[in-house]
Symmetry: C3
Subunit: 159 residues, 3 copies
Amino acid sequence: MTNDASGDTALSRLQVQGYALPQLSEPGKAKYAQYKRLDASIYVAGRLPTVDGQLSEQGLLGRDVDLDAGRRLARTGAVNCLAVAAAAAGGLDRVQMVQMVVFVASTPEFGDQSGVADAASSLLLDVLGPNGEHARTAIGVASLPRNSPVEIQMVCTSA
Amino acid sequence: MTNDASGDTALSRLQVQGYALPQLSEPGKAKYAQYKRLDASIYVAGRLPTVDGQLSEQGLLGRDVDLDAGRRLARTGAVNCLAVAAAAAGGLDRVQMVQMVVFVASTPEFGDQSGVADAASSLLLDVLGPNGEHARTAIGVASLPRNSPVEIQMVCTSA
Amino acid sequence: MTNDASGDTALSRLQVQGYALPQLSEPGKAKYAQYKRLDASIYVAGRLPTVDGQLSEQGLLGRDVDLDAGRRLARTGAVNCLAVAAAAAGGLDRVQMVQMVVFVASTPEFGDQSGVADAASSLLLDVLGPNGEHARTAIGVASLPRNSPVEIQMVCTSA
């Protein structure tokens, strides 16, 4: 990982935001790869906002989970994707974002998927600086694996 | 923008369809980019079918919004994506489509997401000609930002 | 298609799994392409788990369709994508997976989208071997075209 003289690394900026980069889980019996490369593109598999394998909340935005919790989960999901992206790109400082898709488990009436997704987008910009700039899509889905309120998927490249 | 002698440009074909290419909104306080390039790929962020920032309809296909309105919104969403794609590719005549994903806010019983998406697909072919050919995915989602009935996301390249 | 001396081809492994590679439907009046290439990337359009154009089940996981049926449909949808991928890549043995997105029509309470998607992921690994490795996203959507319980989308390349 590039570590400039000032110590102002992406990892330190992540820590300022209150996050550590989680260990990647063992491949174990997973049926799919955490990421896959095609030329310069790094496709990161959809990630849930687990911490030590646990979800702090379950259910739908608009019914079970409020906006603040949704935003917190979106940040955690983004950090979990960044851990994979950093492993693929050769360090967090080398992650250059391309696209993020934010899936928000939502009631039919919930309409603030952008508010949830903004929390993840801001974290990417705060941590990665200009490399964090990304195209984004936020949608509300019926439900997600393990009844997670949020799931995040990324395409990135190595800077 | 390429403007051949006959004046038969993508922009003129768009006008024949009854659409103008909207101005891109100011980046302002958006937390993400309208598009992001990776090698030849241009990832366009998910776009709602707003006109001058307003949605003409809100809610779900199968409950609040009928098929004709959904198709109209899909076309408008596609035009909004094309405005971004044209800016990225160096003009509408240089936009070459790759993939379009059409998200349709739907009741559990609604099953004509393809009918909604076909309206956007046809517009791409009518306006861009062979460059408008694209792989497509149409799905029904629980809800969308601002309770929009439709959201559209594209990957394209520069011809 | 590469056909090694042992006759152990991807096609034969697909047959061992109980599947044949379906004929691609005629383009006919489809408004979009079954796949689109951009450099090395092959974007396969979203495919339903039809057999001879028919869906064996309709509706939602968690209400109308049980997990076993959902898994069977996920495998069939993956096979339908593979037929397109094989045509694009120059044979099933040359298909190298990159990303699979598994859309599962779900009730708000259903939380085993991963269980559904695992069936498709396993089939890719069984049939394509190491080339079947892929990044994956599984999400629960409100509904799908023709009330299909499952839809599958892929990005792959030619090995």
